[in-house]
Symmetry: C2
DNA sequence: AGAACGTTGTGCGATAAACGCACATTATGA
DNA sequence: TCATAATGTGCGTTTATCGCACAACGTTCT
C-alpha cells in the first residue's frame, strides 16, 4: 500500500452520465439529445449514448423526441438519505418545531458554496420556489448558510463565498465579501443568524447551528416566515428560546 | 432514420457507477471496496474505479477505510423532483390533510412492483422504518400500491405482483396472487383501499387514487395511523370524505 | 415548392479507456 | 504466530468509447 493512487483510473463515462442526469431541472423537464449535449458540453454522440443507457436502465424515458427522467432516479438520492442518520433524526423535531411555532422549519448541510436541504416541515408555502429535501440555495445569502459558514475557518468561509460568485437576489442582499465577513463574525458570536429579505422579498429567516455531541457544528436549522407577520426582532424574541431548546435536545443525539 | 438503434452503445461504466451508488442503504451507510464489489457483482477493480471516480466527483468520500455517500448525490434525485410538477403540487395539500386529520399522509407513484414516495407529511413516527421522499415499498401489500395496481390492466397488475415475489411481512399479509386479484377488483370498484396491518403490525392505512384532468390515475395518496387509535372502519368513516374532497380538488390541477 | 437549416440515427476505424489478473503489503483475528 | 481477508499498484489485453461522416427526417423560411 504505497502513496495515493494516481487519477489514472477515472471512469469518464460515469462522470458524463451523472452530468446528464443533473442537467435536468425545474426549467428543463424534458430535453432532446442536442439540448443535453449543449448543457453538458458533451459531443452529441456521447450525450446520446448516455441517454440511451439511462433509458435502458430505467432512469429516463424517451417519447421519440424528448428524454425525461423517471422517478427511478430517486433511488440515487435516497441511497444517501437512507444511509445517513441525520435526516431521519432531525425530521420529527422539525415537524414538532413547525407545529409549535406555526412557521416553516428546515435543516440543511453545507456543500461547497451551497446549502442542501436535508429536512423540512412547511407550514404554508412561503417562498415562490418550492423547497424540498435536496433543494440547493446559495449559502452566502441564507440564514442557515451564514450559520454554517460562520462556524468554519474565516479564510475557508471567505473562499467558499467567493467561489459562489455572490449575486444580489433582492435589493437588500449583501454581496460584498468584506461585509459578509463582518456579518459572519457577528453570527459566530451570537450563535444565531437572522436574514431579512436578502434571499427573497418578504421572506425572513432565523437559523442556528446543529451541534453534535463533540461540539462540532455539522448542520443548521431555521424557522422562516413572512415579514408582514413578524419583524426580525419579533422572530428572535418569539422563536429563539424554542430553537435553543431544540438545539440542546439534539446535541447529545447527534453522533 | 432507420430501425431502432442496436444496444451496441451501452455505457457499461455508467451502469456500474449507478449500481454502486444504489448499493448504499440504511443498513449499509459505509462500505469498503470489497463490500461494494460483493453487493454489486462487480470485480474489485471495477468497484474500486467507480468509488474512486465518485469520490473525485464529490459524490462519495473516503476515510482511508470506508466509503460513504455525500449529500451531493441528492442532486441526482433532486433533478427529478425539480423537473416533475407533481411532487411540488401535492406536497402542500398533504400537509393540510395531515394537519386536519392529525395523521400522517403521503403520495406515491408506481415504479415496477414498488411504490415510490413523492411526498409526505408525517404527524408522528408511526412506522419502524423512516419514510421519506424516495422511499420504496412493495406495491402488493401497501394501500397506495394496491390502488395503483387496481387501476391498471389486471393482467399487467398481476405480472407486476409476481415480478415482486410477494413475501409476507406480517402474519396478516396476503401474498396469494389470486386473492390479491380479488382485492384489487374490490378496490377498483370502491375507489379506495384500506390495508390493515399487512405491511407492519399496528399500522393501518387508507389510500385513494390521484386522478388527472383527463381522468387517468397517475398516483395515489393515503392516510395512515395506528390500529390502537382507529380501526379500519373508523378510518374509512372519518377520513374518506376529506380524502374525496382532496381528490376532487387536485383533479383539475394535475395535467 | 424548394432550399437551407437543425436534429437525429447509424456505421466504422482509431484510440484510449476500462478490464481483471497477479503480486506485494497491510490490517484483522483466531 | 500464523492464517485469512482486504487493499494499492502495475501491466498486458481487450473492448468499450469516441467522434467523425453520411443519410434521412422535420421545420421554417423565401
Amino acid at each position: 500500500m504505497a502513496g495515493e493512487a494516481a487519477d489514472r483510473d477515472h471512469m469518464a463515462a460515469l462522470e458524463k452520465g451523472l452530468a446528464v442526469i443533473e442537467c435536468f431541472d425545474a426549467a428543463h423537464d424534458k430535453l432532446a439529445i442536442a439540448d443535453v449535449a449543449r448543457a453538458t458540453d458533451l459531443s452529441r454522440a456521447a450525450a446520446r449514448r448516455c441517454l440511451l443507457t439511462l433509458t435502458k436502465l430505467g432512469y429516463a424515458e424517451f417519447d421519440g423526441k424528448f428524454f425525461r427522467l423517471t422517478p427511478r432516479v430517486l433511488r440515487l438520492g435516497h441511497a444517501w438519505l437512507a444511509s445517513s442518520a441525520l435526516p431521519q433524526l432531525v425530521q420529527p423535531f422539525l415537524e414538532r418545531l413547525s407545529e409549535e411555532t406555526h412557521e416553516s422549519s428546515s435543516a440543511c448541510l453545507l456543500d461547497g458554496h451551497e446549502i442542501v436541504y436535508i429536512g423540512r416541515s412547511a407550514q404554508r408555502r412561503i417562498m415562490s420556489v418550492g423547497l424540498s429535501v435536496g433543494t440547493r440555495l446559495p449559502a452566502f445569502c441564507t440564514s442557515m448558510g451564514r450559520v454554517l459558514l460562520a462556524f468554519r475557518d474565516p479564510a475557508e468561509a471567505q473562499a467558499r463565498i467567493i467561489a459562489g460568485k455572490p449575486r444580489a437576489l433582492t435589493p437588500r442582499t449583501v454581496t460584498d465579501p468584506a461585509k459578509l465577513a463582518a456579518i459572519l463574525a457577528d453570527v459566530r458570536e451570537q450563535g444565531h443568524c437572522i436574514v431579512d429579505q436578502e434571499l427573497e422579498l418578504g421572506l425572513i429567516s432565523l437559523a442556528m447551528p446543529l451541534v453534535n455531541a463533540r461540539g462540532e457544528v455539522i448542520a443548521a436549522f431555521n424557522i422562516s416566515g413572512q415579514v408582514q407577520r413578524s419583524s426580525a426582532g419579533d422572530m428572535v424574541a418569539r422563536f429563539l428560546p424554542q430553537m435553543r431548546s431544540l438545539q440542546a435536545m439534539l446535541r447529545p443525539l447527534i453522533t
